[in-house]
Symmetry: D2
């Protein structure tokens, strides 16, 4: 069951998004644009990418306006499937701006990424239906509740039991995206499969440098002159999933490990918020284990 939950204000009715990926060949754009013109839709934005003009994959994101889209959605999807998608063997998806994705935030003890996401949602920067916050600690409950969000403390001392409880929450609430906002426990591949939705994690280094534990201590030890953060989709292999966003900040010999943590925290929250926003707006497509991000 998806909770009705509150709606993000400012979302436009009758605005849809289509994302496509398929084998590249001539005529795709003409077929897609022709279809939408026939339906009387107006294209607001269109982005496309070919991984290789000769024999690569083709990716597209359309933002369109169509009167009465909410009621015509099923019909539109069926027609598109029949008239366009089938002949190009497309993987595709239509979503509505007025129906933001249902999201769960997972967090441990660090508050910076969580608070930044909550604050951006309150400012209407992040179009999401925020169903709940889940944490393996109880320490951020009052922050969550100050923003009016359901908070669930799911201890992970018994990892299997914890994952089972989390899985119940996620599947019963119709979660479409999980965000690991500095959630410091590794999720099992079994959990990821059963949850049935993507998870975005923020890793506190410029991956693939300093994967694993305590990257700021590793960075200080190596004497690097930049520290960074990486937002990536979670896969069964630790810190190896497709990268959505990365950024860095300059550091020098004066900065201690504690300074790197403080400076890095600003990069982490910015990079995670950016990645989540892109995902919520259907701007991210997968090209193998790389991402195509239509900004």
């Amino acid at each position: 069951m998806t909770l009705p939950a509150e709606r993000t204000p400012g979302l436009r009715p009758d605005v849809g998004r289509l994302t496509i990926s398929c084998h590249d060949r001539p005529g795709i754009v003409a077929a897609v644009a022709g279809f939408f013109a026939e339906q009387g839709a107006n294209l607001i934005h269109a982005d496309q990418h070919s991984s290789d003009p000769e024999g690569g994959r083709f990716f597209m994101r359309l933002e369109f306006h169509l009167d009465a889209l909410e009621s015509r959605r099923q019909e539109l999807a069926a027609l598109f499937d029949e008239k366009v998608a089938g002949s190009f063997r497309m993987r595709w998806q239509i979503s509505l701006e007025s129906e933001p994705k249902t999201v769960a935030l997972l967090v441990s003890k660090s508050d910076h990424c969580l608070l930044d996401l909550l604050w951006r949602r309150r400012r209407n920067e992040l179009p999401m239906n925020l169903a709940m916050i889940v944490s393996n600690h109880d320490s951020l409950r009052s922050d969550a509740e100050a923003f009016g969000v359901d908070f669930h403390h799911v201890p992970m001392d018994n990892h299997d039991a914890g994952e089972r409880q989390m899985l119940d929450l996620i599947t019963s609430r119709g979660i479409e995206l999980g965000v690991l906002a500095r959630y410091m426990r590794v999720l099992s591949s079994r959990f990821l499969e059963r949850a049935g939705c993507p998870f975005i994690n923020i890793h506190h280094s410029f991956l693939p440098a300093f994967a694993g534990a305590d990257p700021y201590a590793q960075a200080h030890q190596r004497g690097v002159k930049l520290v960074g953060a990486t937002a990536h989709y979670v896969t069964a292999e630790l810190d190896a999933g497709p990268i959505l966003a990365q950024d860095v900040v300059a550091v020098g010999h004066r900065e201690t490990v504690a300074d790197l943590r403080r400076l890095g925290a600003d990069v982490e929250r910015a990079v995670l918020a950016q990645a989540v926003k892109w995902h919520l707006e259907d701007r991210v497509l997968l090209d193998g284990h790389r991402t195509v991000v239509f900004r």
Copy 2:
């Protein structure tokens, strides 16, 4: 007369670019993409932008492959005009990757922007037919000639006579783009009109801050913590033309005016090279006095 001049290696045959701007309304993309599909062309890239989905202007850039494009260009243009461009009242242009624009570089005494452009051209980063370098000083002649480029010393002590001489050079060589690579004389509006081609200038500040003379001294005096550079099209009003690219570098209390000049020079050459590359690849469209840059 356009000199045949040397060709940039690595330019793909049969690859064309179409740029369009027109009043926005439904059906444009379908009409354009449909036309190219009918012609048997394959779209390599497509970018579009609406300044306002309701009643704004529409901008588009297509990169396409069409067999025998070089010989079919006239026919293609005529067909496009008849079948598509007319009904949408488009301003449009088709260019061929295999026919790079003919360019003149204008320079005074500072060498950094000029040398960077010459070096990038040698590396085949800048697809241009470089016809000549014009300078109001003779000091960079040997640098120009080391790169095998025609050098013309046109003194500007008599400004009118100088502009007349420069105009002769520009019109007789079929120049399609002039680049002011730290050319420190103001060009008259009369000259700009008669030259009949766009000019890109690099201004050594983050415009609109510090327009006019000696921006680094102005910046030092004001105590700013960043200095920058701005590449813009030249218009009759000094330092007020449409901006193509800008960047900045951090500075502090230790930097003298000379340091700002040194650090700024790196930004200037990078920003100018970027802007020139975008223009040469037909990535820049004008939206009033603002630019649309399809990167």
Copy 3:
């Protein structure tokens, strides 16, 4: 009366800071370092700057450890004045890390700078004794109170009456720094004089570009490719005070004025927090209307 207020945890006892500015001449560092060595102090950090090695001004910041500093402060200051400062005609000041400055935050309706400062203070990133928040609107009261900070609504419909009320608050609470965290009313020079403490403002543009009202609309209109923010000390002349920190973010033709505001907000809060932190740590010295920032 300075309220005792809560103390920032993690502040080191027995750690002091000395800032100096004077006419440059040989022997200053030897005299200062010799004095501290005699007193048995250990230098933790030392930074110095000469605006011009020949006849300029000299600036210095020392961070030192001295046993029982809290009780020996008066004696140390008197000795330093007698033995060192007098002969070099220094402007100088000694402060204690264990006695953070008493601060008032001024805010209007935008929450991003205020919340960021409150959050950083909670994380112990900003060593300050936060006495109160003053606003010309009542809308951020609950946010302020959620962080346990006194909130005063001082309407400015009658500007003179409002300034008088604000002045009472500031002088009665012993405020040593005022921070304008998107406070949108101009403070009169009379107010600034009587308040007797510095004020740091965040201006939402890269000054000196786009001073005055609605800088994001101005920036969009001009078509710049970067928007920025500037933290500066407030002086009687609007947006013209000494600059502490600046930063920018890249924008393009797709960004609307609303997008510039959203992207700029992130830069504003980062730049303001940086400037406030530097001031609180006595890292900023004035060199005429420019700043020396010892990071």
Copy 4:
């Protein structure tokens, strides 16, 4: 034998630099500054750093002016050793701005780092006595000679013979710094020991990510959103020496491996030039396998 070679114009006479590292303890700055005051020297700049105020190492760099420094250098050094350095067990070094370091540039086929260094030296940005360019290919000879620099082609088909020849050149020319400006052969630890001078290398990735061969292809494969460059001292372990400087540039799904190479080249030349400048100005001290860089 050190060749007299040409001198960098603009180098100030009577200006010296002292660098120090030693175990941290009270009184160091007072002793050093007192010594220079006694000698009648004026401190132009002073920077210091303690890796840990309690029991760490202390690092210092002084820039000073002393009349007739060139003739008093030996005497000054002897006095400093006797009066100051000994009792603090300092590692220290005095150098003169008027005696820039003798440098060899090593290069393979890529021209961008080499040309940038040559151009910056011509602009007097890099105070060095450039003795020669050594390459394992002959292709950049004419570029080197256009800048008036000795060029030696030392093939490395026989690696041992090549290193022996290079060693002869380096030791016979009194080389004090070797710069690997995209020199693509690994230098043996035997060579490094015998050469007796430090070498700075530019690696075309953000180390420790993508050490080893073809980092841009590795980066593209992993789908990172930033590519970078790292300047580091060469040690026997490949790509693991102390880091002097790093920077990155944003990339996305559109960039091919060739684009990463092109964009990365700009970062490489900037980062290498920065690192070399810092080394030439004695701004870099070693703290184990980390660097202290006094900018």
